[in-house]
Subunit: 141 residues, 2 copies
């Protein structure tokens, strides 16, 4: 089991109080947190780290793959579409185009979940990431 200091070392990052504490919050929380959540979480513990540092450290940790950001799609603000039929997309990380999928791989899974968890499942959001044919080529070249 890795502690915050260990995580920093394995990322090859300088070991600073702020970074240790931000990672600490992420570890304690056990579920996704917002930048503000981290900022105020630290406040409550009597620690103080500026909000810009929170953002910068998160960015850095994402680069190092020690942290992930939920739902990567929304790069330029929220996205909207007609709510006609249920639909998901293949999102290209190269050109950012979105290709609709033929069908939803989760139809049966939702029912299963409702039964298993007692959670009343009403929907889901799913995007698949990767590189489209065009961008796949460009990456190699």
């Amino acid at each position: 089991m890795e502690d915050s200091k260990g995580r920093l070392k394995s990322c090859g990052l300088k070991n600073t109080r702020q970074r240790r504490e931000i990672i600490g919050i992420l570890e304690q929380s056990g579920r996704p947190v917002s930048a503000e959540g981290i900022f105020f979480g630290l406040r409550e513990q009597g620690e103080t780290v500026s909000l810009s540092t929170v953002y910068r450290v998160l960015e850095l940790l994402i680069e190092k793959k020690a942290v992930r950001r939920l739902s990567t799609v929304e790069e330029c603000g929220a996205l909207f579409e007609l709510d006609d039929k249920h639909r998901h997309y293949l999102v290209c990380l190269g050109c950012h185009r979105m290709f609709p999928l033929d069908d939803c791989p989760l139809k049966s899974y939702e029912k299963e979940l409702t039964d298993k968890t007692g959670f009343d499942v009403t929907g889901h959001s799913l995007e698949i990431y990767g590189y489209c044919r065009d961008c796949r080529g460009k990456r190699k070249g």
Copy 2:
């Protein structure tokens, strides 16, 4: 097949030029668009609708379930978590708590997709929405 005027009527909404045009863009586009995308899309067609109207109309159409917003989770800015192991959440629409799922229902599906589509799949984001036990009770009462 419904046109923008028809959609507005079935939502019980007043039929205004701006609304027709915003819906028009959503129909034409065939994939998710940002508010700005709609705004400038209209500009290009020589139509003009203020950006605040775009936002207001989208909001309204979402309420009426004629439009959906991609990835509903991020209500208070981006969310971050440790990137230790692959994980998804059941997100409660009542209390906004997030409950981690035991496992990912898409493991095999990704490979299948890579083969089928020629898209180089590198990952996905998935959240399941609904109401947790607590909130399910409260909704009925």
